[in-house]
Structure formats: C-alpha cells, structure tokens
Symmetry: D2
Subunit: 241 residues, 4 copies
Amino acid sequence: MIKVTVWNEFLHENVHEEVKKVYPEGIHKVIAEGIGTDGFMVRTATLDQPEHGLSEDVLANTDVLIWWGHMGHDKVEDEIVERVHARVMNGMGLVVLHSGHFSKIFKKLMGTGCDLKWREAGEKERIWTVNPAHPIAGGLPEFFELPQEEMYGEHFDIPSPDETIFISWFEGGEVFRSGVTFFRGQGKIFYFRPGHETYPTYYNENVRQVLRNGIRWAAPSGAAAPVRGNHQPLEAIQPKS
Amino acid sequence: MIKVTVWNEFLHENVHEEVKKVYPEGIHKVIAEGIGTDGFMVRTATLDQPEHGLSEDVLANTDVLIWWGHMGHDKVEDEIVERVHARVMNGMGLVVLHSGHFSKIFKKLMGTGCDLKWREAGEKERIWTVNPAHPIAGGLPEFFELPQEEMYGEHFDIPSPDETIFISWFEGGEVFRSGVTFFRGQGKIFYFRPGHETYPTYYNENVRQVLRNGIRWAAPSGAAAPVRGNHQPLEAIQPKS
Amino acid sequence: MIKVTVWNEFLHENVHEEVKKVYPEGIHKVIAEGIGTDGFMVRTATLDQPEHGLSEDVLANTDVLIWWGHMGHDKVEDEIVERVHARVMNGMGLVVLHSGHFSKIFKKLMGTGCDLKWREAGEKERIWTVNPAHPIAGGLPEFFELPQEEMYGEHFDIPSPDETIFISWFEGGEVFRSGVTFFRGQGKIFYFRPGHETYPTYYNENVRQVLRNGIRWAAPSGAAAPVRGNHQPLEAIQPKS
Amino acid sequence: MIKVTVWNEFLHENVHEEVKKVYPEGIHKVIAEGIGTDGFMVRTATLDQPEHGLSEDVLANTDVLIWWGHMGHDKVEDEIVERVHARVMNGMGLVVLHSGHFSKIFKKLMGTGCDLKWREAGEKERIWTVNPAHPIAGGLPEFFELPQEEMYGEHFDIPSPDETIFISWFEGGEVFRSGVTFFRGQGKIFYFRPGHETYPTYYNENVRQVLRNGIRWAAPSGAAAPVRGNHQPLEAIQPKS
C-alpha cells in the first residue's frame, strides 16, 4: 500500500468558470480518482487548509506527494516548502505536475530557473516514449496524443534529468522533455508536463497510467538513512611523520 | 510473480576442490536459494545443458536472467548470446554478476572492453551506497563488508552507467563502481561486482538483498514495443517547391 | 591542431544522379570543406580505398574520425571495424552522422539495435538545443531549421545518452534525439542526426558549426591509459584467519 | 584567454597559525599561481572586499569562478549568492573546491543538503580516474595520491552527477565521488574535493592540472541564450471544434 497525498492549490477551480466546468470539485479530486485504490491509499490536501494540509504528521505518513500549483505559488509558506524539501531528502517521492515547474518546492529542488516557453492555443500534443525500459512507460503505447493542451517548449531550465522518459511534439513547432526523473537525497522526483487546468487531461487514461507508474517509481527505497558529520575511522590510519 | 532464471557456467565447482567446498551443488543453487520464493519463481540453467539451458522457450518465460560465468566464457555459443541479447532488447532484465563482466553477452551489450584490475588476495571489501534513493539500495545499511573477496579495481571499462548505486573500497587501495545499471532497448541491466567462487559471498544476507532488489528493478517495464522502419506521417506534410 | 579524418562510403554519389547533383565530389569533400582549417587538419578516406583508407597508420594519426555510411554498411570489413573500435577505446573521437546509426562500428559501440523510424518525404526538421551549457551547442541559435530532410523518429534504440544536446521536431509529427554523446573507454562519441544524401544539409552553416563543435568536444582527453589485469596491492593486506 | 576569478573567504589564513604556515598569503594566491597564465587571465577576490569582490562588473567579466570557503559560509551575503547563481544560469563556469560543498551557492545550485562524512586525521587519499575520456582527466596518471588530507565520505548528498570523473579511496575506509560535474542552465559546475586548509594540496602538480582542466571544461559554451515565456507558434495550429 503506497500512501499518496495529492496536493492542489485549488484556486483556478473557484475563480474561473472554464476550469470549474472541467474540474468542478477540483483537479485534486480527479487526479485522486484516476490513481485509484489498487495498491494506493490516497488523500488530498489544498492550499487553504491549515499548514496547506501538509502538517508534519501528514508528510510523515506520505510515501509520495503529488503537486499541482500555478497561480498560488507565492502563497505557499516558505516553512511548508522547507518541510516538504526535508521530507524528500529523507525519502518521500514527489510527483510534480505541469505548472508545478514554477513552484517553490520544485525550483528549490532543481536549483535552476525552471523557466520554459509556453502558449495557450489549444494545440495538439503528442507524447513519445524515449525510454521503453523504464517502469514509468509501463502499459503505455509508444506515443499518445492529447487533442488540446497548453504548449511548453524548450529550453526547459532544469538540471540534466537522471532519466528522460517522454518527449512531447507540439503542433506549433516546439519539443519538450515531458517526463523526467531526478534522484535527490533519499528521495525521487518525477516531473510530468501535461495538465493545463482548462483541458480534461487528468481524465485521460494514458495520463492516469503515467501517474500510477510515477507514484510506484517514486515510492521510498527503504535504504538506510546515511550518517553525516564527523566519522570515526573504519580502518587504522598510519601515523605520518 | 517475477520469473527468474539463474544461469551458471557450473565449471569451477566441478574441478576446484576449494570451490566445491563453498558451493557443493553449484553457485546457481545458492543464488536461487538466496532469492527465495516471495514474489519470485526461480529456475536454474547451466552451460552443459542443451542450448546451455537457454532455449527460446525458457527465455520467453524469463523476466530476469542472472548470469554467473568465468572460465567458460568462450564456451558459450554465439547463437545463444545473440538470443539473450535479442531478449534483453525486447524487455528481459539481466543481472550480471562478478566475473560475468567478461562474458560475451555483457561485452556485446556494453560495446566496450569491460576489462578491469583484479587481485586474488582474500582482502576486505567495503561496499558503500552512493544512491540511497534507488530501489536496489532498499533494506541495506549505508555500507556493508565482505571479509574476503577478490579485488576489482578501476578503471572499469564500461559505458558511463545510467545509475551508480554502490562503490567498493578495497583493503589493497583500489575503488570500484560495484553496482551499476544500464537501460538498453526495452530491457534493463544490473551489474553487481561481488561473488568470487572461492568465498561464501552468495550466502551473505546483504548480497542476497541486493540480488532480490536488482531482480525487482530489472523486471520488464511492460511498455509497448516500439515500431521501427518506414513510418507514415502522423501530420500533413506541406509540399515544398 | 586536431587531426580529423572524414570517412565516407562514397557510393550514392556515384550511382544516384540526384545525389551527385548535390555532392558532385562526394559528401566527404563537402564535410571536410565545412570543417575548415582553423585548428583542424582534415583528410578524407573512402570505402573503395585499400583498408577503406583506414590503415593502422591513418588511425594512429587521427584524433577524430567522422563517419558517413548507408548503402555500404555491409561492405565494411569486420577487421577494420575492430580496428576503429580499438582506436576509440584508446582515445580517438568518433562523430557518427545520420545513416551511420546503422553502421557496424556504431552498433558495436552502442551494443543495442540502433534502429529507428524513418521517412523520406522532404519534410521540415527543426533542431532544438536542450543543453545550452554544452560546448557542442556553442555559436548556435536556440533552434535552427532544415527545410527538407529525411525524418528519423523515436524510439531510437541507443543506450541512454551521456548527454542530449539536440532534439528534433518533424513536420510529420515525430521527435528525435538528434545530438547525443557517449563516453566509451578513453574515447568519446558524438552522434548527429541530419545529413540525408539528397539534401544540401552539409552546406548549412549551422550544421557545419555543430560538426566543428563536435570534433573539438570529441578530441582525445590526454588522460593516461588505464592499466588492466592483475594488480599488485598499493596498501598492506592483513592476513585473514 | 579564459577570464578566471579565484574567490577565497580568506579567514583561516588569518586566524590559524597552522594554515598561515601553509598558505601565508592565502589559499587564493596559491590556487591562482597554480592555474598560471597559459591561456588564463586570473584575478582573485575575497570575502572582506566590497561585495565580497564579486561586483556585477567582476562577474560579467568572469568566465569561470573558483570558490573556496569554509568557516565564513554564513557571512556571504544572500544578494551576492543570487548574483553568482544568476551568472551561472547565463553561462559562467563555477569550480567549487573542498569545503565549498557547504557554501550557500553550491547548496542553492544543487538543491540538496550537500552534507557528507568528514574526519581530520591526516590520512592518505588516493584519487582514481573513472572517466579517462573526460577532458578533466587530461594529463593525469590513472591515480594520484595526497599523503595527508581531510577525509570526506559517502553518502555525499548531491544530485546524481552528470559526469563522475574521480573517486577517492581513503586510508580510514571510506570512498568519495571527488570530481563531479553538473550542467545547470547555460552554465557548468565542477566540484573537486581535495583542498583542506592545513595541507599543501594546492601546491600539488596533479591537483593544479585538475584545476586547469576544470576551468577549461567549465568555460562558457557560447550557445545562444534561450528565450523564455509566451511564445508565438512557429507552425500553423489547426482550429479545434
């Protein structure tokens, strides 16, 4: 049983009619529904809750945290960002979605600007698998299409990913590394590009399969926590003159 | 249930008394026993069997193949090597152990010389985890020791690994990238260094944990097989003048 | 002064009128001309020469070898392939172009199938830089276009590249990792996708810049050759009971 | 001509007699002297200078910045850290030395804790090249020794490096990834482990060779700055129903 917390800022859905139509109860509800219950125990958390729903206790009981944010990035308290960061360092998986590329937590973990090209033109996106050996590609066709999505284009200002699993083709002429992973501390991070709030992307069965795969991949490794600091020698050290 | 085939050349155990004492029924039996039955269905195969025990049927029903070879590398038929290679390309996992670094199949998959430094001096090896986020490090302490092993030293002539999980410290002064992974085609490869035939390495509980982790990691992804060759356009191509 | 040898099978240019029009003296001549003389000493070699123009002496005096082949892959002698492979292992750079993805030497170095999707439809290719920090991207715009090229599409069956510098967008709907590098032994390999024989790709100034960058990047490191085999201890090894 | 700025906090040398003896005019002077003038234009900067010697103008005229810090990490102004970070993002190389692993700039760029094991016991360090194809290994033997150094041990809490060039063996039983590189934004980062202030490490000719190699490797690529933000389509987008 992997314990998943789906975090959503839950703002667009309350102020934009267009978004409310697609996700009437919030993006987090549809993401959670898409993950399902087969091997997962899923709860949700939102920006407006105390501690944004991410108390020490909730994080301690989260194996993988999913993050959707956009217009409220700045409203996320620095203290909570530090808390999530610390939890990734000690093993929690993090799945960052779409506009989460500009969240405080993702930028802090990447160490780079995380900026990119974008365009809202309802264009076609075709997502190609470039690492069919990777578990995150499991159960997927070699490509799948989203009839309408926001475009994100290169250069995406992230570290060289540890693994690149998906690359997107966009109708308007750009490409994008759409599914990338990063090992950080004892934790694992999966960034997945699609998911603009005005399109029904999280109802798409292939997208849902990617999320389930990503969660399983990002689950904690269970390796021992590394010891830091001053370390006694394990072998005799010869005196030097 | 992951279907595992443990392949062993099974030669040293028949001709060297010292090895027979440690592995009276063969290294493969002790490896298979160490993997256990919790989630695994394990069988063994050896060089002396017809088709080295690696018929088309056996390979088609193998999710992960484990390879231990040394003095008999040259006795492995090229046709079987091609068969194993093709099976890795279409998704089978491969776990190559110790002196398997010089096997035909590993050299073919790596494309490099795969040579290294070595020394049989019964020295201490200390294996450090350098990627505690990786599932292959699961359930392991931050380092573990083997009181006596053959030394392998850098430079190990392999491609830059996709992931480096373990690095060994040797008493005699060398280091070695001891646990490394490679994505190849639809398949995954894990090379794990320890396992000299004169030492009881495969009885070691940490080594056994690494093997179980490596098998789970190397299991097929289940992604669709990529289509190759001449490809019809997915979008209209404008006529050029 | 980097010593460059441009190898071309030089077959299409003799049998296909369409190709002869674009490259009347051979693709190798136009590649060599594009590299120029500023820091480079360039010679050419072709399939029909003794030892395909790649004698031990020529290779010993080559820092970086450029490879263009297609219809004559099978005509390249295995002995010469082994020789080039050995030279890469001991430090020579190798720049493999376009249809060279299916050459014996590239397949041997990669260890994978190296297959891909393809289509000859005169379509537009747009090449995006995804690693602007890499020297192979030096002097290039963030993207450049080739008005007509053969399409190559994913999944490209190569190892996960050590560095991915360019990704192509194709008019017909595919993407491709078009500029990728690999460290192998003491040598470095750069694969660059464009260069179909019926289009004037090697006259393109951006393509020429990529080639010059790639050659400089692939030049030998000058590190000491690693020692292999049985190794005397560098530190005292304690007797074990 | 690569423009190099050697930054040193320059504190130990003023307060610890033991350090003053080894580096009477400061570590930066000895590092600068070791880099030399053959292809390099070197200046120095220190913590106590206005803006820590790292004004906008100095950084704009720096191709590669070298960073040595330890007891004064907290004294570095956040504004200067942001400035250096921005300059790396737009192409400046950064070479971080030894205890600089805990500097604000390195931690910000890595996004991880950057902690490690350490021990001051005057023990032997043996530095092995594990990527002899890499230019940072140029001109070096396959290993070299430092008779006395501080120990740094794994797990080193950094992202998986883009390239691992050196791994250290320590007398007391640990290993460490001692020479690692990272592509970040348009910039390149090289971390090199040795250099404890009480030992004459920066007088060592092999260490000096590593520094010169690292600077050349980290020099700006000269690629075009990527464009970010809202992007007009490069191809026609079909109206959707």
